[in-house]
Symmetry: C2
Subunit: 373 residues, 2 copies
């Protein structure tokens, strides 16, 4: 069983296939997408031992000549060193312009291998095979690829759409609990920005979701991907609407960066950033405080919103100013109008940002009722 969506981008359109047991179908799905002869499978030290052979076998059955390249698991692999090792592997494997890169893993592998595909020989084809919840609902769809610099995340990259996204739900079974929960933060995000029904469903089924119920997950992932595909189709290169996908990410990226990658997971940071954005929204768009409370409560029920070590505000403000989304030198925030609707791109006054940071700190320490009416 599998569900298929499509990202509509004219000649660069591609399918998102979501289902159980799809790892064995990767070869067939790649073969449907393109006539490549050679494929480089890029994975990491966590995912490779579990799934790489199945994917390679599946590719071999469809006449791909495959080579495996494994990078260390973790965010630090989104580096120039690992990138150039992929180029070397691609040359050793004799990839040419008609070849294919298969990104088998989470967001790190997808971003890194996708950027290698975007730039090797000025761009070759790649297919995303996401194995984490975060990658399935977010990073594998939409063609954003890139690496980090010591100065910040994703500062170098390219928009390069995959030829297909193949999400096998079975791979979620082996995902560590903490990483699975962090992925749910992005799921919640889709509810806030575009899909109030999804948000309500998450509220009603938090326990089953934490239990990784396959059927429920397929439905939820499909809805997230549908929102993402729709947003990407209308604004591929993030000149407008696509910015709404960054809800919670302005503070999120800054915290992730300050705490150190891997210490605070991306989703954990985004969860904090979303509540922060909601608190800001109350003051600017008039988001009802009850919506902020619902958001914080849902995130808590999913095991997110752990308090973080206290940090002086100027450190955080400085880090947000380094964000690449800073246009004309000021950080912008996606703000919610209500659960299910947001608007992009607000620069806000410094004192407001600082006050709201303290509200967030209080909320994390206390209950969900801070700043209430």
């Amino acid at each position: 069983m599998s569900a298929e969506l499509k990202v509509e981008l004219g000649k660069r359109s591609y399918p998102i296939i979501i289902g159980s047991g799809l790892l064995d179908e990767v070869g067939r799905l790649c073969r449907e997408a393109l006539p490549a002869r050679t494929a480089l499978v890029v994975t990491d030290t966590n995912v490779g031992p579990l799934y790489a052979e199945r994917v390679r076998d599946s590719l071999t059955r469809r006449d791909f000549e495959t080579t495996l390249h494994t990078v260390p698991a973790g965010e630090t692999s989104k580096s120039r060193e690992r990138l150039f090792e992929i180029y070397d592997a691609a040359l050793d494997a004799r990839l040419d312009r008609r070849s294919l890169i298969v990104a088998l893993g989470g967001g790190v592998v997808g971003d890194l291998a996708g950027f290698a595909a975007a730039t090797f020989l000025r761009g070759i084809a790649y297919v995303q095979v996401p194995t984490t919840l975060l990658a399935m609902v977010d990073s594998s769809v939409g063609g954003k690829t890139g690496i980090n610099l010591p100065q910040g995340k994703n500062l170098v990259g390219a928009f390069h759409q995959p030829r297909a996204v193949v999400a096998d739900l079975h791979t979620l079974a082996t995902l560590p609990t903490r990483e699975y929960r962090a992925g749910l933060a992005e799921v919640v995000k889709y509810g806030v920005i575009r899909d109030a029904d999804l948000f309500a469903e998450l509220e009603n089924h938090a326990a089953e979701i934490l239990d990784r119920n396959d059927q429920l997950l397929e439905k939820i992932i499909r809805r997230c991907c549908a929102v993402k595909a729709d947003v990407v189709a209308s604004d591929e290169r993030e000149s407008g609407l696509r910015a709404i996908l960054n809800f919670g990410h302005t503070l999120g990226h800054a915290l992730e960066n300050l705490e150190g990658y891997g210490k605070l997971l991306h989703g954990e940071a985004v969860a904090l950033g979303m509540v922060y954005a909601a608190l800001l929204s109350e003051k600017i768009t008039g988001l009802p405080h009850t919506d902020t409370i619902r958001l914080a409560a849902l995130l808590r029920s999913l095991g997110l919103l752990e308090p973080i070590p206290p940090r002086p505000w100027p450190e955080i403000a400085a880090r947000m100013n380094l964000d690449k989304k800073v246009a004309r030198g000021r950080p912008h925030f996606v703000l919610a109008e209500k659960i299910g609707r947001v608007r992009p791109g607000h620069p806000l006054a410094d004192h407001l940002l600082e006050d709201t940071w303290h509200s967030l700190e209080t909320l994390l320490k206390g209950g969900a009722d801070v700043g209430g009416k």
Copy 2:
């Protein structure tokens, strides 16, 4: 006085402005192209001392905040080290998504700075200000950007169109003789692939061209850019027609790589490669031998076609097989049907390639009459 052409690529269309004294107009022309506030001017140690201040002044007059970044002159700067130094410079200069990179220099600076622009923050705007003949007629137009790997040239890169190309003919006055002559090889190429009248004009005015007559040069550069703009507009990403621009480049790249970059200049290698391609064409397309003779004679009259150190064929064959244009493992050759018309993409038998290499060696040693009827 300046002439303006346009590369027609829909929303990504841009002008090519060719004229004398345009360095002082860079600010105005950039301002017409985009509303950026911050600009990073990338240049090299040869060009920077001559022209960087004029370009920066011109940008400042149009309210750009500029920072200068200088890389060592020469092909070795198309490296990952220099690339990541540009990212650092861009961050130090606080470039954001609306900022601009100005590539002031020859093909190396254009390719390197263009690739930095293609990938910094997933792509920002850039303007090409070519200061060599080669860059004016070839590398600055068409959006090919990239760096070299130790394994070969341009193995990493992106298609990223500039917002404008500004070619100031005055900068050619300071170009070393050898580099100027090497640039003429690409000019001759346009004659062979698309413009028999241009080819005849070059034959008739070789001496004035070597004297760098401004008026003649403007006319010639304009014609070369018109061919390039037309070819790029119909095949931006080199899936077909654009390959004709690689006439002479399959062997050319291999020789350049074997001799060592800087020892044999790109244009010098392409000159050899074009005669080689013409000799191959005689056998496949029936190109008249007199056309090969005309080509060799024109290149000689422009100071090109110097003999190179003898090399065993297997070395050259192996290097051609590493070329990124190698589809399904075999090198392809653009072949001429007559002066002014070529066809792309021929894979050829090994013995033919080897025999023709020996014909080229003989031709270089002897006169232009080798292999004749």
